[in-house]
């Protein structure tokens, strides 16, 4: 026998036949096809028990109730809460993306201390000792009023605790950012007396005269406004939108009336004049007019004649008259102030003039009208315990009435007027006009303590950062605001344990007060924030903890409302934008871009049109008639008195000639590859203009020029 190639052939054939008849072929074919459908590196979330937690969203002033779907203890989705009286099941894109903030790349994960320009992690104990040490020295030097504090708002128990802290410490310098609610409170105070705010019953009004309010672009409580707008179309109520560009709200309105930016107050004054002249005001309500209605009437007839206002606003005299009469003759008319979202730089004169239209129609505190309602006073703080130093400091005059004014005062002062600054839930180094100067002012403050969840522009300018839990990780009372007619207090509840080493702001303040000891510890005699909250809202705690919210007031407020015309009768000046260039740059509020704290989520940024931002390039809306040979999509340099920026042009026939528009909320400079370093921060181009009547920034626009870049 001889082994030859035929033997090998037999071996090979035998092996092939053996394998072919065995299960190997069929099984491996099946397995390999399965393998290609289940890549092992694809992450698969673990399965578990589904539950829903009720809470309240605090991402914007909308105060919507949310239902958080959880698998075991892990939150996986945010939806609108059906039973919540503000949003009735609705949710906006920022709310549904709220979970992204838990794991945001910018989250501050542990207390931080700045050392030679770099942040280094420290423990909570070290951080509290450091801050308490600084505060102790301030009090030793008899200057407790050199502690200042900026919070986003003064509503709710957390800003209340900051206020409580400041008073107990001995400083009157607690100021807030400019929000729609703060403008409404100030308007109500100017026309009707303090302690009140305004609500607009958009759900029932049959004629809404909006002076640039972005009803579907984030004004007020956004989801409630979306719903009101859908309802409006169904019940046939009219919406007239007065603003310089064809916004989404204007596009959905029954009429869009383009107006020269910044002349809204003049238009409202002229309309008041028409109502008074034509005897179209409500005589019954007029019985409550005080402070010189006749003087006001004489002034508007003289200073705001329709023909003159027509020339200023760019709206024909006939149109002004027709609109005013249609408004006055409607059954349930409402005039809505607050351009865009209604926050930031607005004008008290404009708010007051527009609200005067409401007053003249007499549709106040009636269904489908404007509610002049008390600021909900559900919180009962104990009196802070003060020692002699604190009493002396707290009795001093306030340095400023707003965050804007405080920053300007610090910037302009040669000596350090503020030794230590607390910042909570605000990003003044980004969102105040002219942030370069704001940062310069921050550099002048020796010690800045930031209570924040995110490493934003202001956090970067701080010396110590106390990391705060996000709204999904903590308790907080959330009072409704921003033009809602119902007064509702919601309870935000932790739906997940803190992801990082963070605490609720209330807990951080209580711990800080305890570290300071003495009267501060006495003023904060609560073991933790939850116990504190419970004691601050004794009347509604049961309802809050059971239902997740408590309705404090609904329906028209009772009682007579008096209206005082003194402020307007003196004809306060209309603010003019800074600069003398030929174009007017207006900031645009876009629903998809968040403008305050926190910044937009990665999800929200992804939804922004590429006619607003494309990769890193920002677009500026311009009417082709104004473009003067420049190309659509071409690069230009926008120059204003505050600065300049390289942007691209977006030709838009829906913006008035001579006006250019730029979306707010972009151009962040912090370290988040999904959100920051995209476009330009429009505030960097706008110089603040302080309105004498309010002391607040009224820079609704700025003069700008463009040149090919």
């Amino acid at each position: 026998m001889k082994v030859d190639r035929r033997s090998f052939l037999g071996l090979g054939l035998g092996a092939v036949a053996g394998i072919a008849i065995s299960p190997v072929g069929a099984k491996l074919t099946d397995d390999s096809s399965i393998w290609t459908q289940n890549w092992p590196w694809t992450p698969v979330p673990p399965d578990g028990k589904i539950s829903h937690d009720q809470s309240v969203c605090t991402l914007c002033p909308g105060t919507c109730g949310i239902s958080v779907r959880k698998i075991d203890s892990r939150p996986v989705k945010i939806e609108g809460e059906d039973t919540y009286p503000v949003n009735n099941g609705g949710a906006c894109l920022h709310g549904i993306a709220g979970l992204q903030y838990l794991y945001d790349p910018c989250r501050v994960k542990t207390p931080l201390k700045k050392n030679n320009g770099r942040f280094e992690p420290i423990s909570w104990q070290e951080a509290l000792t450091l801050v308490a040490g600084r505060l102790g020295k301030i009090r030793e030097n008899q200057g407790p009023d050199t502690l200042a504090c900026i919070t986003d708002t003064d509503l709710g128990s957390v800003p209340g605790l900051f206020s409580h802290f400041m008073t107990a410490f001995g400083s009157p310098n607690h100021v807030t950012m400019q929000t729609l609610e703060s403008w409404l409170v100030q308007t109500a105070q100017t026309l009707h007396g303090s302690g009140r705010t305004l609500g607009f019953d958009l759900d029932n009004a049959d004629f809404i005269l909006s002076f640039g309010a972005g009803i579907i672009e984030g004004w007020g409580s956004p989801v409630a406004c979306f719903k009101a707008n859908s309802g409006r179309r169904q019940r046939g109520a009219k919406l007239y939108q007065i603003e310089p560009r064809l916004s989404n709200t204007a596009a959905k309105a029954d009429r869009w009336i383009p107006i020269q930016p910044g002349t809204e107050a003049d238009l409202a004054m002229a309309m008041c004049g028409i109502l008074l002249q034509e005897n179209l005001f409500d005589p019954e309500f007029a019985a409550g007019f005080r402070g010189g209605l006749n003087r006001f009437n004489a002034m508007v007839q003289q200073k705001y004649p329709v023909d003159q206002v027509a020339a200023v606003t760019g709206i024909s005299a006939a149109d002004i008259k027709k609109t005013a009469i249609a408004f006055a003759k409607a059954k349930m008319p409402v005039a809505v102030p607050g351009k865009g979202r209604g926050d930031g730089a607005q004008s008290l004169k404009e708010f007051a003039a527009i609200h005067t239209l409401n007053c003249l129609t007499g549709n106040i505190n009636k269904k489908g009208g404007t509610f002049v309602k008390p600021v909900p006073g559900y919180l009962s703080f104990p009196d802070p315990v003060q020692d002699a130093v604190a009493r002396k400091g707290a009795g001093k005059e306030k340095l400023a009435g707003s965050a804007r004014e405080l920053v300007t005062t610090i910037h302009q002062s040669d000596t350090p007027v503020v030794d230590t600054l607390f910042v909570y839930n605000a990003n003044p180094c980004y969102s105040l006009n002219d942030p370069v100067k704001t940062r310069a002012a921050f550099d002048k403050i020796p010690f800045v303590v930031n209570f924040t969840s995110f490493m934003d522009e202001t956090a970067m300018a701080s010396d110590v950062i106390l990391p705060i839990s996000t709204f999904l990780e903590r308790f907080e009372d959330v009072p409704s605001r921003a033009g809602l007619v119902r007064s509702v207090v919601g309870l935000a509840r932790p739906v997940v344990d803190p992801v990082f080493d963070t605490r609720s702001p209330g807990d951080a303040l209580i711990l800080l007060a305890k570290t300071l000891g003495g009267t501060m510890a006495d003023s904060f005699d609560w073991p933790d924030y939850k116990t504190c909250l419970k004691s601050l809202v004794p009347g509604i705690w049961k309802e809050l903890s059971k239902n997740g919210h408590a309705v404090i007031a609904q329906g028209p407020p009772a009682g007579r409302v008096e209206t005082n015309f003194a402020f307007l009768a003196n004809n306060p000046p209309t603010m003019q934008p800074k600069g003398d260039a030929n174009l007017t740059l207006v900031p645009i509020d876009n629903m998809r871009v968040a403008t305050a704290v926190p910044a937009s989520s990665p999800f929200a940024v992804k939804t922004v049109s590429d006619r607003v931002i494309k990769k890193k390039d920002m677009f500026v809306e311009i009417n082709p008639k104004t473009a003067n040979g420049l190309k659509d999509g071409g690069f230009v340099t926008v120059t204003t008195p505050a600065g300049s920026a390289r942007v691209r042009l977006d030709f838009n026939e829906g913006i008035m000639p001579g006006v250019i528009g730029m979306v707010k909320g972009l151009g962040h400079g912090f370290d988040n590859k999904y959100v920051a370093d995209k476009g330009v921060n429009v505030h960097e181009l706008i110089s603040p203009v302080i309105e004498p009547g309010s002391g607040l920034d009224a820079a609704f626009a700025v003069k700008a020029s463009i040149a090919k870049a």
Partner: protein, 223 residues
Amino acid sequence: MSEIENKTEHGSMDGAKESAAKDPKNDTGLGLGVIFFILAFLICFLSGWLLFPKLLYSKHEQPFNFDHALHVQETGDCESCHFLREDGTFSGIPKTESCLDCHTDEPMGETEDEAVFAAEYVAKEREVPWYVYAKQPDCVYFSHAAHITAAGMDCVTCHGHIGESTSSRPYEENRLTGYSRDIWGKNIWGIKKNPWDRMKMNDCAKCHEEETGHKGYCFQCHK
């Protein structure tokens, strides 16, 4: 003889010799080829049948033995531990928390396995990392409620007599796909005798066709 003739003569003689060698009676080369064929066939066939499954699947012992028979006897039925939640989702394998309805960190019986459970999982508040024999891949949506409540099926139809087992068999995982061996079935040929022997897509489709008259649509399970 010319050279050419000479060549032809030798050539023909060589040819005659070769044809003698090709005589089947003397063909030892072919015989060896057949033997090699048979040997290789048998080795490969047997390897494919017996050795291949051992290579394809990795074996894992469960964290500790679980006596289903004893628990069924104590609790009465499957639903005591594997129940449908109120919203219709299926609880699957109970969490340690559910076990604590009866157990504590002190063992109730005397088995070593329960001692492991009490010491390692109850006392340390950890979940038992059970291997799940019947786990379907993530691309499959399966509703227990539709089968148990709506179609009135019992557990045994799909899961077999696991409730009568007194110990946990090793879990076998396909090294290539990561699936449990129970999906393809214990039998490497893919032959099934009982409905619970195999649970591939065709098995779902076959039962659906028999019971409902239609195999079902893709999106019913692959959402």
